[in-house]
Amino acid sequence: MTSSFRLPTGGRVDRSTELAFTFNGEALTGHRGDTLASALLANGVHQVATSVRLGRPRGIVAAGAEDPSALVQVEEPFPEPMLTATTVELHDGLVARGLPGQGRLADEPDPARYDAVHAHCDVLVVGAGPAGLTAALTAARAGARVVLVDEQREAGGSLLGAPERLDGAPALDWVAAAVDELTAHRDVRVLQRTTAFGHYDDGFVLALEKRTDHLGAQAPANRARQRVWRIRAGHVVVATGAHERPIVFAGNDRPGIMLAGAARTYLNRYAVLPGSEVVVFTSDDAAYAAAVEIADAGGHVAAVIEARAKAPAHWAEECARRGIEVRTGHVVTGTSGTDRVTRAHVAMLADGVVGPRTGIACDTLLVSGGWNPTVHLYSQARGRLRYDAALGAFVPGEEIDRASVAGSATGEFTLAGALRSGHDAARRALASAGLSTEGLPAEPELPVTDPEPPAQPTRVLWSVPDPDPDAGHGDQRFVDLQRDATVGDILRATGAGMRSVEHVKRYTTIGTAHDQGKTSGVIASGIVAEALGVDVGELGTTTFRPPYTPVAFAALAGRDRGVLHDPVRVTAVHDWHVMHGAEFENVGQWKRPWYYPQDGEDLETAVLRECAAARESVAMMDGSTLGKIDVQGPDAAELLDRLYTNLMSSLKVGSVRYGVMCGLDGMVIDDGTVIRVADDRFLVTTTTGNAAKILDWMEEWVQTEWPELRVHLASVTEQWATIPLVGPRSRDVLAAVAPDLDVSNDAFPFMTWRDTGVAGVPARVCRISFSGELAYEVNVPAWDALAVWEAIFAAGRQWGITPYGTETMHVLRAEKGYPIIGQETDGTVTPQDLGMAWVVSKKKDDFVGKRSFSRPENLRPDRKQLVGLLPVDGDVLLPEGGQVVEVDALSQPPVPMLGHVTSSYRSAALGRTFALALVRSGRERVGQTLYVPLEDELVPVTVTDSVLFDKEGSRRDG
């Protein structure tokens, strides 16, 4: 098909480029500067899609983001579901098709990048039309930092679609000069192809910049396809223009039926004649310009159907001059046509009664029912709206903090008024942002507009009565084209008892589709109000919610994907673990070695080997992820006494104590060791996953409850690397690497620490054990960690030193009945439940959580308590999470449960499986047989004390 509807001259398209594209399988061409919609119209293609419920053909209604109808699926260069043809910039190689209502997601990963940028400015102007440009110029001239965002590929706004003149020259000359001036300002940023889609508190606006979509396959791979701008502005000027409002009539959905303003845009901006045989249906002055311009461009305008009793004199004259018939007091009551409109049915409308019909042949029917200010961004930021009965539109009410509205977004539709309003808004913005306006001339220097003809008030006409209500085809007066929702649907909703527009929206689905009701929402309110006999202003309209236009998920995700989704933390020894084949476990953000499989070992085999090494000889692990908090100050001991359940102030310098922290509710939140470094200094450790939380917790108490305590806290997790060295041979290994240290049991007893050199590096060695074995914990600065690790590994080689991971650590501690916070506990477990009443001080008057221990629920004798479970069959491994029941045969549910298995392992040391469990009245049940139901059996288990290995603690001292 040839570009038969492209005019020979004019427009903003670059005729020197020919872009090949495919639509619905047909090869077509267009130019740089076209949208998919303008290129289709240039090729005479009006039908784009079919509707979601009724399968009716649908065309192009508007020229911008408000289009309710022309939904397409982009297939190449990469599938993207549901875009409006009016917002897709044409590029070479574009392959798209019309949608039947649902888009299609790609079945392969999106190769594009997305990113986000923060910007700060004094004044953000949204929209580069006449009002927005004037606002930006005014603010820039006053020295403000300005960001101007505009959704189109070039500035100009409504001026792009109309042959306006300013200062006696084409208005686009003024636009070009304004853009030049703005871009010359150092502190002004102009962002085209950038749609402000969300307006939040305190001048925060989110905008989406499309950076490569218009380049198609030529898009550089290293450039982010789309970028989210997070703009924090001192003041926001919303100059987003207005959307033309259709009038609803039967068969108003046929391809070829278009908004009059959109037709002007296609004509003037894209040099496309929307059709050859045109009827215009209006209740507003603006549509006449479309009729006149189309006639001047060579189209035939069969008639202007004017719903008002009288045509505006100026335009009547212009029409007469071109031989265009104007039928006043008439309306379009219906249309004919299959894939495109072929005939408009026209009748007189008086007192709500439709007269006899005549038909007018046409291939294009242009409609205008007035204009709705684009108040979305204003409303999103909680700006209230006011119904203007003369305009039939909701307009901004009182101005809100840090935002002003300018131009036709206020309901001011003249060009001179828009310029003036842009200037005034900028002055308010400057004042609000605290900037001087002294540099500005007293009287604004605004370009001079041509005189505008006197305007005649709009007739607010939501819909035309259906002339054939009984024709049997159902109501075809479409209010929401995308949802196939009609006037009849609205009347059913109100008839069903609905009185709120929100209910009607939900009953009819009007306004919930891709266009979010940009052209249908106010009409729906108008029709509801008429049906209920109430005022539209009182009824209101549905809420405008972000985003203004749809935004791709990937754009919002930005770079926070894959490895950047959440920071990955690794220890100073990480690379060694990788080289030695460790499998890793995510613990919080950390990567921790889980186990070190050798020669194809599985988890179970590797762990049995690692455990055996720790129990029989020597093993080492990387414990650097433990949280470490340096607590300093004269009141450090006092703080710890208040936060730990046990007494810390009595700890001697040089010693170590295990401690538990509870929440206010008395439930265990963390545990760890505390070492006293000096009278006024402690180093406390936390579990890996809770490090940040516990530092926050301690800070909160110090700052908000006990500011009188002289104490300071600092995280030193990253500064210290920690290497537990475990097993009967650990003393030998330590002696080998720490020659200055007397490692004898008398000189370096359990629960003490010593500063010494390890492998030539200053180190702090603690004698603590999380396995029951003779064990040490070597702490060195993280920079030296790898060297020390390797030295210990080398020194231990003669005893077969074995690196082990978290799984082995878990087994070793479980054999001793030591709980893991977060595994044995779940926020409902007290120290007493864990069998650790000994860690709860009786001497202290108070500590966090103490009072909760005496609540009735805490005093119940049948609380769940930590015990050991030995499956009667020592080969059976219970599932962690398995429930414990009392009965050996299951009744109908619900079956009473006594508790659950918290940990379960195969033990090399015990030569069998074992488990820990929280069991109701557990300690009283030691010796009892209970059952753990599995898929199709009940596994008998014997309840035991939670300590299963070396109950006497004979191994601790080696």
Partner: protein, 92 residues
């Protein structure tokens, strides 16, 4: 997304802060003598007004200091910020 004026650092993005609930709820000294109900009130009950609310914030990704704010929970607008230990300001 709001701009929150940390009384120590000045206005910063909401994402730098964490919320701490109602302000001016002191940890009860001598709580051993409180009834279970009184203790339960302290542990679990906080005001939840619709309107101005004195509440705690911490500038966790900034100076890490706790401070208080009066914020209207209906509009989310912050009416005043003040440092720990300062009295709750009177806001209109």
């Amino acid at each position: 997304m709001q701009l929150i004026a940390c009384p120590h650092c000045g206005p910063r993005e909401e994402t730098e802060f964490h919320y701490g609930g109602q302000a001016h709820v002191a940890y009860p000294a001598g709580n051993a003598t409180l009834s279970d109900e009184e203790w339960g009130q302290f542990v679990f009950f906080r005001d939840n007004p619709k309107g101005p609310f004195a509440e705690r914030w911490v500038h966790s990704a900034g100076c890490r200091r706790w401070f208080n704010a009066v914020r209207d929970t209906a509009t989310h607008q912050i009416l005043a910020v003040y440092r720990q230990g300062e009295p709750k300001p009177v806001v209109a």
